[in-house]
Amino acid sequence: MIPAKFDYAAPASLAETVSQLANGADAHVLAGGQGLVPALTTREATAGLLVDLRNVPDLADILPQDSGVRIGAMVTLDEVAASTQINGSETALTDCLAAFGDPQVRNRATIGGALAHTHHGVDLPAVAVALDASISVFGADAGRTVAASELFGGLVTALGPAEVITSVSVPVPASGAGSAYEKVRNPGSSYAICGVAASIVLTPEGTIDSARVVVAGATAAAVRIPKVEAALAGQPATQETLAAAAGHLPDEGLTFPSDLAAPADYRAHLAEVLIIRALARATDRARKVSS
């Protein structure tokens, strides 16, 4: 297996990157390449031009911000996981990173690439949505910052063909907040058969103030489940209420894919189970933070 021919460029600026992406025929961004390179090798994907971000400055830093931490798009998942700014507490993000691919993939895959990789089993977008992260994007005119939920809510990532993710900002969790990510991996590919990222905010009294529940592995990369979220608000955070809320999942009418690893109805069942488990762990963590 050998990739079909393509051209390659590694420009030294964002402006040049965007210009090459806009002008090249069938041009694609190349970050860590952990999704793209094997797809090119099997010729499932083709490209006329690959624009490599490796020479673009300032994309590989993890910087503290007032409201959280900003992670440059070219920071590898291994570096994110090793960062004390990230791993100080257990969150949906640390859960996701620990279960992402394998060590070699984490050493090479970038957070920008993992967010932009449009494969239904890639779960980082769901975590970004659950954590209410914002994504900085650079395009033809200038940069913009959008909420993760805006970028990943649809069937395809709402990223322009000549746009590049430059960083992701993860907010500091509010007091009483906790998050978790639950994944059942495909034993072959290690992608998620199904994953659920949940974040929860407890009131000082211990009831649920708000929650986000996001499913990975359904038709879109990251699907929020508003009916489950709504059913949680104002409830005591007990196993019973979590389970009852998860029972609203079918009301959303989500469709799940069917493949050799799992049929759709099993994925739907799994999503419900994982919602309860993710919420329970998020609640435990929220209580730890508050106590």
Partner: protein
């Protein structure tokens, strides 16, 4: 564009196409071939290197992306010729078998320990998830990482010479002699072999399960850059299809024809007018580079007319099914009975309890991390052909290619196997690609190389298992089995593989009684052609299907009569005083204590005291289950005459050559063919033990038909030690005898007065005066100045061994699983294995093979399945779609070995290589069924994917508990097999006659209706 990187500390420049992968840059441009290619798509980790100090898979990085970076490969670790602490730990812990995946593992572990000097076992296993392993079972790799962590904390003090074994060499766990070069990435596999002037072939394969070929247009491909030639069947002339050499002669059978008229035919090198499975070879391109050959492949236009296909063996027997071969009516190759059917039927009719079940052993494939390859070369001056290929039977395929395929003189063909990156049985055949490369080499006048790819592997290399059996077991209410009657169906695929058609009746049929004394067994082997890849043995072959069947039936029977399955086994096992034991189907069990092994295994898991564990699991939302797999597995092929009586046209004796050089070193050539079993080590140990020479003085040659041996039968089916190893032992006796005779002549004394001592001969009456070293004997025999009358010069011998009988290793394995009540996920939490392989030469070598057998069996039980859709399209052609078990999914295995020598060879050794695979899958499936038994679930089909179990649990709880007879079908993602019978039949609470279970068996029997099958 000119780029540079630092490779192993040295700056190197390169200018390659942008599509070049880093792994290809390292291997092809810079010739560092220690980095291996297993999958090319980032799944297996064999190509792991350090990039900027961190482990990455070099097939997932473009060469251009590494511009300016620092790359370390296996060749860059440590000092030349030495081992790092990590490498030394791998060596010490026997974490290396075939060595193909070893460099990638070493690089990965090097990164782990550089960042985490003290990892827990869980952390190690999780880290190893980036490296797929097909033979070590990860067990010793984990031990090696722990050992390496300890060494690294000691500074340089770990660097001590490995201890020299004192005393007996046989029985000592000496470090594998072949491992250090594997650990340094210096061992050459087929991908690493390059010949001067070599060009490259790419093979076009059928994308259709069944189609006629109306025409092939190769003109566009032939005109592409670098293309030397494009060839189709029309170009091959008198080249014949592959032959079949194992054909039972006592039953009617039907085959594709072979023009020789002497043997049945198999797959053609290139398809003529029709393709019969996805993968059938249609055309071949020869070009200057691999890229050019592959690019040209896309330009060949084939006009196919797609035909209806059939992929299921029982479906293929229906009258309405598509017919594959004109000479094979109803696609039935043969229907071969074994045993006394009337007696079995009578015993079943008279029995108190009858259990019926359809047992499905799914189609799997070896999917070794190293794929296959072949290089053909032809010397126009001498007319000599040479084939380099990574297959086990170098001498057998030499004969078959010369005689039945190319029609060239046997002594004009040489076959060489380079190092082989494991086989699991699937490199044990004659393949169509090997002779094709030889033909091409002559046609284009240059050596031609073909290397397979991961996605092509399931199209090019036979699969295994795919066995469906309708089994009936009869017995009494108090647990004594009286009969077992089985109607088996083997899916042969589209063509018969050289030896595969002989295997089902012998290796499955004869083995179905397992470890039990069953008075009335009967087996019927039905072999059926379908539009799927040919099938043949995969590790555990035949015995695995049989043991799975009987061990599942034992548990079903135990469930029916409400008895502990361990007790049922104990009651029915062959007892130690029954040997030699005739199992009524053709095996003559040799020795052992089967109930003893069972009891030891049960004791190790605390079988009688699992209630607390079950309760603990339930409290965590899990269901604990325990499952037993007991086995006896025939090994040591074999007695040539017995194999001949079963229709195999080949001698199966072992052979060995030993020469004592005039300088005293010992040169051995073995008929064994190592592909991970460490025969270089274990056979050296036999020689060292017998002749008293140090290991370092012994070389072992193999895998080249131009060696000292007339013929070699290779390694397969756990025969190396107990046949080829015994030939080595016998050759040692001949050497000692000749040394004694020569010494007697020189000492002027009777031969009886001369003894052989360690590396010397001496006269018993004057041991310190009349004494010569082995080297002196060899030297004087080489000089030939003073030889006794009739004495031949030189100290050399050929030893042979044709065993009088097979040998029969045995044991009991126990699996403990936890099933997640909500997700259906199965976790293997404990695995205990008690095995008896008779005399063992190197315990750690043998244990390492057991680890591999266990991991493979767990993988089959939980993950693996080759799947086709109803058109014959192949759905599983990557490690993503065909999962193999990873390190984090396995616990450490607990092994115990007992030693009951076989009387059938002078070493007392029984087979070990693949025999401990058969009990694994049934132990795991039995454990899961045990976990779900109170739901009324008694049977589940492999692989036990979570959704299969979830569906069974859902159906069972929806349909009520025992007595419902509800069947929970294990639908497998819309595959053809879904719903065709087998699956979770809810227990029927003490059924005593056929059909009352209302489950799979009745439906499947109705579905079969084999037209023309003997019944």
């Amino acid at each position: 564009m000119d780029r540079a990187l630092t490779l192993n500390g040295v700056e190197v420049r390169f200018d390659v196409e942008p599509r070049t992968l880093l792994v290809d840059l390292i291997r092809e441009e810079f010739g560092r071939t220690g980095t291996k290619v297993g999958c090319e798509t980032g799944e297996c980790g064999a190509c792991t290197v350090l990039l900027g100090g961190k482990a990455v898979k070099s097939c997932m990085v473009l060469a251009a992306q590494a511009d300016g970076a620092s790359v370390t490969t296996i060749e860059g670790l440590g000092e030349p010729g030495e081992l790092t602490a990590v490498q030394d730990a791998f060596w010490e812990e026997h974490a290396v078998q075939d060595g193909f995946t070893t460099p990638g593992l070493v690089m990965s572990v090097t990164d782990l320990l550089s960042r985490n000097p003290d990892p827990t076992e869980a952390e190690i296993r999780s880290w190893l998830d980036g490296n797929l392993e097909r033979v070590t079972g990860y067990h010793n790799v984990v031990a090696a990482v722990e050992s390496a962590a300890r060494k690294l904390k000691q500074g340089d003090s770990w660097k001590i010479e490995p201890e020299v074994v004192a005393g007996d060499m046989v029985g000592a766990s000496v470090r594998p002699r072949e491992a250090p070069e594997m650990l340094r990435g210096e061992t050459d596999y087929i991908a690493d072999v390059t010949l001067p002037g070599m060009v490259h072939a790419a093979i076009l394969r059928s994308p259709h399960g069944h189609a006629t070929i109306n025409g092939i247009d190769t003109s566009a491909a032939a005109a592409m850059p670098g293309v030397i030639g494009v060839f189709t069947a029309a170009d091959l002339g008198f080249v014949m299809p592959l032959p079949v050499i194992w054909v039972p002669t006592d039953v009617e059978s039907h085959w594709p024809p072979h023009p020789s008229g002497m043997v049945p035919g198999g797959q053609s090198l290139l398809a003529t007018d029709r393709v019969r499975f996805v993968g059938d070879q249609v055309a071949v391109v020869v070009a200057e580079t691999v890229q050019q050959a592959n690019d040209a492949l896309q330009a060949i236009r084939v006009d196919y007319e797609v035909l209806p296909a059939v992929v299921d063996a029982e479906e293929a027997l229906k009258r309405s099914a598509p017919q594959l071969h004109e000479t094979v009516p109803n696609n039935l190759c043969m229907s071969a009975p074994l045993g006394d059917k009337a007696a079995a039927d009578a015993a079943i009719a008279a029995a108190e309890v009858v259990v019926e079940e359809t047992i499905r052993n799914q189609r799997i494939m070896a999917n070794t991390v190293e794929a296959r390859g072949a290089i053909g070369s032809y010397d126009a001056t001498t007319g000599d052909y040479t084939l380099w290929t990574n297959v086990q039977p170098v001498n057998p395929i030499r004969l078959l290619i010369a005689l039945y395929v190319l029609g060239v003189p046997y002594n004009k063909l040489r076959v060489i196997a380079p190092a082989i990156g494991s086989s699991l049985g699937a490199k044990g055949y004659l393949f169509a690609d090997g002779p094709l490369m030889l033909w091409l080499a002559k046609a284009v006048g240059r050596p031609v190389k073909w290397l397979d790819t991961r996605s092509s592997y399931p199209r090019s290399t036979p699969h295994g298992r795919d066995h469906v059996a309708h089994a009936t077991l009869a017995g009494s209410r108090d647990g004594k089995i009286s009969a077992l009657s089985v109607r088996g169906f083997n899916n042969l695929g589209a063509y018969p593989v050289i030896n595969a058609p002989g295997s089902p009746r012998t290796l499955i049929g004869q083995s179905v009684t397992g470890a039990y004394d069953i008075a009335n067994p009967y087996y019927e082997a039905n072999l059926v052609f379908t539009n799927t890849s040919p099938t043949g043995p995969v590790r555990g072959s035949g015995r695995a299907e049989a043991i799975y069947l009987i061990e599942r039936m034992i548990d079903r029977y135990a469930g029916e009569i409400g008895m502990d399955p361990a007790e049922v086994r104990r009651i029915n096992m062959v007892k130690p005083d029954q040997f030699p034991y005739d199992n009524h189907l053709g095996w003559m069990y040799d020795s052992g204590d089967y109930p003893g092994a069972l009891d030891k295994a049960l004791e190790m898991v605390g079988y009688d005291d699992l209630d607390a564990r079950r309760a603990d699991s339930r409290a965590r939302g899990k269901r604990l289950g325990v499952g037993i797999g007991s086995y006896v597995a025939a090994a040591g092929v074999g007695p040539s005459a017995i194999m001949g009586s079963k229709g195999l046209v080949s001698g199966t004796w072992g052979s060995a050559y030993i020469g004592i050089e005039p300088s005293g070193e010992v040169s051995v050539t073995t008929g064994a063919q190592p592909h991970g079993q460490s025969q270089v080590t274990t056979f050296s140990q036999i020689v060292a033990q017998e002749l008293g020479v140090p290991l370092e003085a012994i070389t072992i040659k193999h895998s080249d038909t131009n060696g000292a041996l007339y013929y070699s039968q290779a390694s397969y089916g756990s025969r190396s030690l107990s046949v080829e190893g015994v030939a080595v032992y016998n050759a040692c006796q001949l050497i000692k005898e000749k040394a004694r005779q020569h010494a007697a002549h020189l000492f002027h004394c009777p031969v009886d007065a001369v003894e052989y001592g360690p590396a010397k001969v001496f006269a018993r009456f004057a041991p310190d005066q009349a004494v010569m070293t082995l080297q002196q004997i060899a030297f004087t025999l080489w000089l030939g100045w003073d030889l006794a009358e009739g004495m031949t010069p030189g100290l050399e011998a050929k030893g042979f061994f044709d065993p009088p009988e097979f040998n029969y290793p045995y044991g009991t394995h126990v699996a403990i699983v936890e099933v997640d009540e909500q997700t259906g996920h199965v976790e293997l939490v404990r695995y205990v294995a008690v095995n008896d392989f008779g005399t063992v030469v190197n315990p750690k070598v043998v244990d390492a093979q057991s680890h591999g057998n266990i991991a493979l069996g767990v993988g089959q039980a939980l993950y693996e399945a080759v799947r086709y859709d109803e058109t014959g399209a192949l759905l599983t052609d990557s490690y993503s779609t065909y999962p193999i078990v990873r390190a984090s999914e396995l616990p450490s295995f607990e092994l115990l070995r007992t030693v009951t020598p076989t009387p059938n060879n002078p070493l007392g050794a029984k087979g070990a290589g693949d025999v401990s695979n058969p009990p694994v899958a049934p132990a795991v499936v039995n454990a899961v069924c045990d976990a779900l038994s109170d739901l009324g679930i008694t049977s589940l089909d492999m692989p036990l994917q979570p959704h299969t179990i979830w569906r069974a649990m859902s159906s069972a709880s929806a349909g009520g508990a025992a007595g419902s007879g509800g069947s929970a079908s294990a639908g497998s993602g819309g595959s053809a097999s879904a719903g065709s019978g087998g699956s979770a039949s809810a227990g029927s609470g003490g059924s005593t006659s056929a059909g009352s279970g209302g489950s799979a068996s009745a439906g499947a029997a109705a579905a079969a209706e084999p037209a023309g099958a003997a019944s």
